[in-house]
């Protein structure tokens, strides 16, 4: 084989990791793609149709229209996180992460490959849930590119979170602690189902410290053109979080934390 330059090598390696990751979550679609479709359908039926019809407007929009973006975002967050945390942890647990550690692939490429897998699943699930929402309501998309950008950035951020979780995880229980005790509460409190303008002053202040609020609102703005907060600030915050978590992840990989004894 003619020796490829390191850059070519890493590009091909990135594609290989990505293919491997996509193959993984499509092979086990009943655990990865089906559950969000079912859960989110239930949310649309129960909160949107049944309860929503009793609620009236929220943020100047029909309640169903208001929660659709939040519910899509919730599934994107959960799935991006879940994909990387379980995939990378399995790679550690079954030791096939060693295939990568032995090979000349750079740490950046390994990280980007896994992020690519998480983002792909996040976007795909976001798409599936969006299609399901069409059975309930047709909402216009005010800023399509913003919608896409926010989905990609959000799944990148939570893929990174999943990666760091997987690095520290020692047993299977460890990969569900963060989603259960941190991610889910923050998502529910992140303005998926309500506008924070409904909250009393103190709680509204607290809600603003929740990063998920910014993502949900930026995303909703992309659809409806309404938001509790400034969209520019929201995007900036997401980028800031990504930069920090990326640096942390890369550092962990370099040091071989949880990977090399």
């Amino acid at each position: 084989m003619p020796t490829p330059s390191l850059r070519q090598l890493n590009w091909i390696a990135f594609q290989s990791i990505l293919v491997k990751e996509i193959t993984r979550f499509t092979r086990i679609w009943a655990q990865t793609l089906l559950p969000p479709a079912i859960t989110m359908t239930l949310y649309f039926v129960i909160f949107g149709k049944l309860i929503g019809s009793q609620i009236g407007d929220m943020g100047g929009h029909n309640y169903m229209a208001y929660i659709v973006p939040g519910i899509i975002m919730m599934s994107v967050i959960q799935n991006a996180y879940a994909n990387v945390v379980s995939s990378f942890f399995s790679a550690k647990f079954q030791r096939f992460v060693e295939e990568l550690l032995v090979s000349p692939v750079s740490n950046n490429t390994i990280l980007l490959g896994y992020l690519g897998g998480g983002v792909t699943r996040g976007v795909l699930v976001g798409l599936i849930v969006s299609l399901i929402s069409l059975f309930f309501i047709r909402i216009p998309i005010a800023h399509p590119w913003l919608v896409f950008l926010v989905v990609v950035l959000t799944s990148t951020l939570f893929s990174l979170g999943g990666f760091i979780n997987a690095v520290y995880a020692k047993k299977f229980d460890d990969i569900s602690i963060v989603p259960t005790f941190i991610l889910t509460p923050l998502t529910y409190l992140g303005g998926v189902f309500y506008s924070i303008s409904l909250l009393p002053e103190f709680w509204r202040g607290l809600a603003l410290a929740n990063p998920i609020l910014y993502m949900v609102n930026a995303f909703r703005y992309g659809f409806l053109g309404v938001s509790d907060i400034d969209v520019g600030v929201a995007i900036g915050m997401i980028l800031g979080f990504i930069a920090v978590l990326y640096a942390v992840s890369l550092h962990l990989l370099k040091r071989g934390i949880g990977l090399r004894s």
Partner: protein, 306 residues
């Protein structure tokens, strides 16, 4: 050119175990090299450090002149590893595993598919290419790891106990295969517990014990130091043999079994002569231990005598 150059390599694990206490090792390009040692000697640790799976505590490693610290990616492209324990995804198929592996070394997918057919065929796995690898037998899994390591045509192939748990027939065909690979120019290092394996394959050998290299020489020279062997004889009747028969120490195991230690100065003819004089018929004979065990015994005895 040296395929591998190790200097003062040391490793202390997080739990305080001193697995390597400063070893030097040189393997020339084209060599077929055996790394031998009892359980826990530090073989896998050494290999782990060469393959970037274990962080070293001190010392240096060069693979084909590429230092693991300064030139890591280049060193890695020269290296193929067959680890001691299975480390592939059990849900992927052999074909997926080897093709992805090639990708990690920068081989484009189309080329990788061609190479995969070649390699999987050589290791008799092509028929199994599309089954989940957890359904493979133990021997097939070992061969899969060899196939995977060969995808990028490494110049140095390291195999950590490749024939553990593999039946004799497959073991022999693996030997044949490795010999051919070595003849074509691949430098090979293997660890094993079977001296027979090292003896039949390797030209040079290092013996490692408790984190130190206790012997590093050519296979020929090492076997020449083997100064005694113990044989087990199955005989028809013992006919009241003495404990020592003209200088041959004898040990009676049961009515029909006898152990004899034969040192280098004596030979089997002499023994057989003495036995037939006494009317003892020998029905069959075999080595008591594999010769490696005897070698270890003599090495450790020498050390404790010194």
């Amino acid at each position: 050119m040296q395929a591998l150059r190790i200097r003062q390599l040391a490793k202390t694990y997080g739990n305080g175990v001193e697995a390597l206490k400063g070893i030097d090792l040189d393997v020339e390009e084209g060599d077929f090299f055996a790394l031998l040692g009892p359980n826990g000697a530090g073989k896998s640790t050494t290999i782990g450090i060469i393959a970037s799976l274990v962080n070293k505590s001190a010392g240096s490693v060069q693979v084909f002149g590429h230092d693991l610290v300064e030139d890591l990616a280049l060193a890695k492209t020269c290296l193929g590893l067959v680890p001691q324990e299975f480390n592939f995804s059990v849900f992927e198929t052999p074909l997926q595993i080897v093709v992805n592996q090639a990708g990690f070394y920068g081989m484009p997918r189309r080329e990788a598919l061609v190479r995969a057919e070649e390699v999987l065929n050589t290791l008799s796995l092509w028929d199994k290419r599309n089954v989940q690898s957890r359904t493979l037998s133990g021997g097939m899994k070992r061969r899969l790891m060899i196939a995977r390591a060969l995808m990028h045509r490494p110049r140095l192939l390291i195999l950590d106990e490749p024939t553990a748990g593999v039946d004799i027939e497959v073991r022999r065909s693996m030997w044949e295969f490795l010999r051919g690979l070595n003849a074509q120019g691949t430098t090979i290092i293997l660890t094993t517990h079977y001296l027979e394996e090292a003896e039949s394959l390797c030209r040079n050998i290092a013996i490692i014990d408790k984190g130190l290299i206790v012997e590093n020489t050519s296979m020929k020279a090492l076997l020449a130091t083997l100064d005694r062997e113990t044989f087990v004889l199955d005989v028809r009747h013992l006919n009241g043999l003495p404990e020592i028969l003209d200088g041959f120490p004898l040990r009676r195991v049961d009515e029909h079994t006898l152990e004899v230690e034969i040192s280098r100065e004596r030979n089997l003819n002499q023994l057989f002569g003495l036995l037939s004089e006494r009317g003892v018929e020998v029905m069959s004979m075999r080595n008591k231990a594999n010769r490696l065990e005897e070698l270890f015994l003599s090495l450790t005895e020498k050390k404790s005598a010194a």
